[in-house]
């Protein structure tokens, strides 16, 4: 039982990270109908910003965090202007390739600027964790789970109870109709990119003390998060969150009870099963193409 609870805790912790990155995928997909393959790199860039401000410059953690997040908002805006906006009237394929290009550009820029050595980022709390019965709770994982739940709640409130949220939703559902109704579509898409970059950044900063800060940290997480979005139903926020947690838990249990070497395979096995049996995902609409 202790064994089980320990695994469950770790699975939920790592799943929360996947969920946060998946959330970024979903938001941009909803707004632009394109998968942003640089979503993982947002996490990586934010983690490096934290290393620069909190470790190298020694600024207080909260200040470094705020500045890093501001930096991510800026990156999201620049990303929109250079990667998405010029191609907005093309089909999804050029945009997709553009985001892949941006992902390579971001990781190699950080490599060139900061160098290849993985870095250490201390956690939010000084206590690394505590013992609850026979289960060890890593404080950083607790924070990750807490922040993920808080962000999901915030997102629900934003989309369901604010005018801005309604406008964002209208934009994602039908850009032409939204334009006719007087919604500034370009601005809405800009907000989406900024918000997604910030969420991806928060995920990166949260996970950095656990996984260390390295150039490839983003891509390893993003691949699983991508699987999570498909399992959840692409374009569905609740589905992405659930998918993220599901993948975290499934791979951890699969590794423990079946085989560690096949750990990464479990996430994708679930993905294949979903693609075969329920391609629209857990919460996906039963339509082939969005209107």
């Amino acid at each position: 039982m202790d064994f089980f609870l320990q695994l469950l805790f770790t699975g939920l912790g790592i799943g929360a990270v996947y969920a946060l990155v998946a959330l970024g995928f979903v938001l941009i997909f909803r707004a632009t109908s394109v998968v942003n393959f640089a979503q993982g790199e947002f996490s990586m860039v934010a983690a490096y910003l934290m290393v620069v401000f909190a470790v190298d410059l020694g600024w207080p953690y909260w200040l470094a965090f705020l500045i890093s997040i501001a930096g991510m908002a800026l990156l999201g805006a620049v990303f929109n202007l250079f990667v998405y906006y010029p191609l907005r009237n093309r089909t999804y394929l050029p945009v997709l390739i553009s985001t892949i290009g941006a992902s390579i550009f971001l990781s190699n820029s950080v490599l060139a600027l900061y160098g290849p050595q993985p870095q250490v980022l201390p956690g939010w709390l000084d206590t690394p964790g505590f013992q609850l019965g026979s289960v060890y709770l890593d404080s950083q994982y607790l924070i990750i789970i807490g922040v993920t739940i808080a962000l999901v709640a915030f997102q629900y409130w934003l989309f369901e109870h604010t005018l801005l949220g309604k406008k964002l939703q209208a934009t994602s559902q039908d850009k032409e109709m939204a334009t006719l109704l007087g919604i500034p579509v370009a601005a809405m898409i800009m907000i989406t990119f900024v918000y997604s970059a910030v969420i991806g950044g928060i995920a990166g900063i949260l996970v950095a003390p656990v996984l260390f800060v390295s150039i490839q940290m983003g891509s390893t997480i993003a691949l699983k998060a991508f699987a999570a979005t498909i399992i959840g139903g692409f374009g569905d926020v609740a589905g992405a969150i659930l998918g993220g947690f599901a993948i975290g838990v499934i791979e951890t249990f699969g590794a423990a009870y079946i085989s560690v070497p096949f750990k990464d395979a479990f996430a994708f096995l679930v993905l294949i099963v979903f693609l075969a049996v329920r391609p629209q995902g857990i919460f996906g609409e039963r339509v082939a193409e969005k209107a």
Partner: protein
Amino acid sequence: MRLTRRSMNLRLAASLTAPALARAAIAADETIKIGMVLPVTGPAADSGKYALTGAKIALDRVNKLGGVLGKQVELVTEDDQTTNPGAVLAFSKLAAQPDIVAFLGSIRSTQNHAMAPDILKTGKPVCFGGTDPALTKMGNPWLIRFRPNDSYSGRVIASYGVEMLGKKSWAIVHSTDAFGMGGLNALSAALNKIGGKVVADQGYPNQSQDFTPVVLAIKSSDADIIGSYFTFDNDIAIFARQLRQLGVTLPWVGSPSIVVAGAVKLAGPALWGTYGIADYAVDSSPEAQEFAKLYSAVSNASPDLYSAWTYDAIGVLSAAINKAGSTEPAKIRAAILSIRGYKGAEGEYNFDEFGDGLHGYNIVRNEKGLIVFDKHIEFTD
């Protein structure tokens, strides 16, 4: 001489092309080129940087002493992107340059396996750092190893754990790549011979984000010691931290990746008190100390095996080409294999018929983040 249009044209043509031809002839003759495949991008990019620094230090030294065959030695590098296809591509790019006389291959066994067919086709010596014992025993004469192979690492880890620490029940944690599997086999075989037994065999895929299942499996086994073969710094650091968090305090003897600078820095206290085998240890010999001095003059990182093997490879290669008096591949190879008692940073090189230069390891301890030399174990069989 009468100036006609034809003679004028000829002279013009000659005056235009002659300098270019002469330059080309000089360029081909000017230096001796050594190709180097190394990771500049990808997860092992940090180790690539160390490897290049080590090679450059040796190169400076050789060139200051007059170079090789009276010429300066030059390094031509290609990025392997830390992937097997990347390594194959990088090597074929280098192999296409006919004036490169020899190569430095990868420190990763899996990449050397990937490049091996092309290396055989190219037919020039490739000095490499991967430690899978099979690499020098598969009939490819051009692979020459500059680190002790894992048949030695397995024996040293086993003999230290069983004979010095008195622990017989082993949990082996290893990567599932060529290096990790080679290590697992070597360590299991060595343990069988001296009365140890493997009670938990835990393989993991590279770049794992979580090791809880591995740690719990060790915890619930009746292992009294851990042996490990990790490939990447961040993997070993994450594992070490989770191991301590979940309360496992077993003694731990690891393959060289446990004592490399990157892992020691990332893991911090989680690796304190562990033992590692190291082909390079600063205090193991005067040559190792000299290398450390040269290294610290150009880098603020501490020297480790990543930089030591390339330093030795360039040194041995230069000595061998001088000894052969020629850049003909077969003569270079014969000269390397005839080397006896070359004192490098990693130890004394005595090449055997397979192309293995080193036959022993140092045991070191992590004492609160400092790597301390314990003893050297050398095998003659």
